[in-house]
């Protein structure tokens, strides 16, 4: 079995108020970064798993996201990478 590392990104759904993003945005503005237009805060998970192929690993990661990792009411997820573990 090949070992893979999947990188999963979970972000607050577009249009939903993201108070953490707004707080960071204001803090950056206060620090003089006036060019900052918008900040959104999400989370990244690195999941190491065993799979026959990268595409099988991706299918499993999607199942994990649908079942537990992301809440479909408030969050969107994307699987940014599925790499072979070093």
């Amino acid at each position: 079995m090949t070992r893979y590392v999947g990188r999963v990104r979970v972000m607050p759904r577009q249009g939903l108020l993201d108070p953490q993003g707004t707080a960071v945005e204001h803090a950056l503005d206060a620090l003089g970064f006036h060019q900052v237009a918008r900040v959104r805060v999400g989370r990244t998970l690195e999941i190491a798993l065993e799979g026959g192929s990268a595409s099988e690993a991706r299918v499993k990661l999607e199942e994990m996201c649908d079942k537990l990792i992301a809440n479909p009411v408030t969050e969107d997820y994307s699987i940014d990478a599925v790499d072979v573990a070093p």
Binding site: L16, L17, P19, Q20, L68, I69, N71, V73
Partner: protein, 223 residues
């Protein structure tokens, strides 16, 4: 009435809920979350707290606790289930209630007495109140902002499923000032405030005590 209060790892209001049910004259028991049988219970309460440390999202991991299969079975049979605070979050994560509870709009944990208005008396838990009645219940949460898409919110309003609302602005930015809702069958209720911590004037309010009367339970199917 037999009331089962579920204890998850990280629950911290289960004793309050248990005491409130006992004080109302019920036979109340604390049930560990690994239990898979709630057949003995007429009413199930999921208490407040921080199950599994709120890791990932509040309620996201607790919803897969072994007991939740029995909770779903109980709910689908039309029997009363009350989720308070973290219990409400768990019921939403388990899809037994629509929507979700996200981080308070002001980001700060809020712990204070609030005023809520009863919007529906047609649930097993609010039958002792009248619509429009204003109550003093405490809140204590960091993730209490109720959100759902517009269509869901409209449906909740249309079907009279907003059970109670904050008066004078919500403490957490909840959409439409929603503090509590119920499911389509009206037997599953989620509340963000803590009626179980408002059962004696000595601790600031006794307005939560009638919620545990449960006089309507058993009178009809579910309600």
């Amino acid at each position: 009435m037999k009331v089962a209060v579920v204890r998850f790892p990280g629950s911290n209001r289960e004793v309050d809920a248990h005491r409130a049910a006992l004080a109302a004259g019920h036979e109340a028991t604390l049930v560990w979350h690994r239990s898979t049988d709630l057949e003995h219970a007429d009413v199930v309460v999921l208490p407040g707290g921080f199950s599994y440390g709120d890791y990932l999202r509040p309620g996201a991991i607790a919803r897969f606790s072994p007991v939740m299969r029995a909770v779903a079975k109980h709910a689908h049979a039309g029997r009363p289930v009350l989720g308070i605070c973290n219990g409400f979050q768990i019921l939403c994560e388990a899809r037994l209630l629509p929507g979700a509870l996200v981080r308070n709009a002001q980001l700060a944990f809020v712990a204070k007495m609030v005023t809520v208005r009863i919007e529906s008396d047609a649930t097993p838990f609010t039958a002792s109140y009248r619509v429009g009645q204003e109550l003093r219940w405490p809140v204590a949460h960091g993730d209490g902002r109720y959100v759902a898409d517009e269509a869901t919110l409209d449906q909740l309003e249309r079907e009279g499923r907003v059970v109670c609302r904050y008066v004078g602005g919500s403490p957490n930015g909840a959409l439409r000032d929603i503090a509590g809702i119920c499911n389509e069958g009206r037997n599953v209720v989620g509340l963000m405030p803590h009626p179980e911590s408002a059962t004696d004037a000595l601790i600031g309010s006794a307005d939560g005590a009638p919620l545990f009367a449960l006089t309507a339970v058993g009178a009809g199917a579910g309600v």
